[in-house]
């Protein structure tokens, strides 16, 4: 559902206010929550599993679980933290069950033609950058994506929540259900590995 389809008053409300409206039976409030978080959740999950269909399934499962259990949401926590927590749990459970090969956002490694590469590529939401900036950003971004893909899943979740979603250490610890010290250690190691992997690119 496009973002513009949501009524303006809802888009200006805070997450807890939208959740309250959803609890009162407003379908528009449910869709507003989806609009706000479908991309962040899908992106987090996709960067964890590196498979579009799996990421889509896990993201759907996340939203279905969250939206069907809004009564259990406690307003003292951030809605986004609760949402990412469910997404992370489902993703980690999935990764524990099945170890996946990684694919590049440029397309699957076994794509031999430009058509097949386009067919397996991922649509990204581009910002307002000049062609050169976009190219440089895309190059660095691709390198970062590749470097992130090589991290352990636990490191991956922590470093993305920290630097992509801008979550605090405390929030990350709550989301991934790990002690605060462990989270700091994971992020420290993830940064070290990313620096090592991106040394030539920067």
């Amino acid at each position: 559902m496009p973002a513009g389809a949501v009524s303006p008053p809802l888009s200006g409300l805070s997450d807890p206010a939208v959740v309250d409206l959803a609890k009162m039976g407003s379908e528009a409030a449910y869709r507003e929550l989806l609009t706000r978080y479908e991309r962040p959740v899908f992106s987090l999950v996709f960067r964890m599993v590196r498979d579009r269909e799996t990421a889509e399934d896990l993201s759907q499962e996340t939203f279905i679980k969250v939206l069907n259990n809004l009564d259990r949401y406690s307003p003292e926590f951030k809605f986004s933290s609760w949402l990412f927590k469910i997404a992370n749990n489902l993703t980690i459970d999935h990764l524990r069950r099945r170890r996946l090969d990684t694919i590049s956002i440029e397309g699957a490694p076994d794509a031999v033609t430009s058509e097949s590469a386009r067919a397996t590529s991922i649509a990204v939401v581009s910002g307002n950058e000049s062609p050169l900036e976009e190219l440089e950003s895309r190059e660095l971004g691709t390198a970062i994506e590749r470097a992130i893909a090589k991290l352990r899943p636990e490191y991956r979740a922590c470093i993305m929540l920290r630097h992509v979603e801008d979550k605090s250490y405390e929030e990350i610890a709550e989301i991934v259900k790990l002690p605060l010290g462990t989270v700091k250690t994971y992020i420290h190691r993830a940064r070290h590995e990313l620096r090592e992997a991106l040394g030539d690119v920067r």
């Binding site: 449910y30 899908f42 759907q60 990204v124 630097h163 992509v164 250490y169 620096r195």
Partner: protein, 183 residues
Amino acid sequence: MTDDFSDADFEPIAAAMKKLPYFEPSPHFADKVMARVNVAGAVPVPVPAVARPRSVATGYIASVARREYPVAAVPDLRRSIPARLAATALVASFGAAVTVALLVTVFNVDLIVFLTRIFGEGAVAFVASIAADAATSAGATATSTSAAIGTAAGAAVVGSFVAGASLATAGLRAAASASRKAA
């Protein structure tokens, strides 16, 4: 963004990570999700005002109003304790009498000898003397009474005795029934 673990080398990477684009899910992602979400406060399925009894048990127990059936007067076939005792005594007496009659008539048993063997000579002699006295007294009384009042009056006496016994039994049963209802 600065924190305990950041250093100058990582700042460019952190800045680039902040600019990482979001990936776009499929166009109908939200619709697929909403198709499986139970929107709170949705219009509930109407429930009939009067639930019909289900013929097949499905684990669901409907709340059905209890029906009040008319209570018919049922005769109480149970007997009171005095009536039971009287009936038992009557049956026992009748049984003993029949047994004695059979022993005497069929097997030609000497009743005195038979009872003597059972209860001893002293007891039997005592009972026999009492019975003889009673028979003599009753015979004389009956003779004198029948002579005095005639055969018809004697039959009336016997009939009144039977009627009295019946009334006494009915009275006892009524009293026992009333005491049960009061309890």
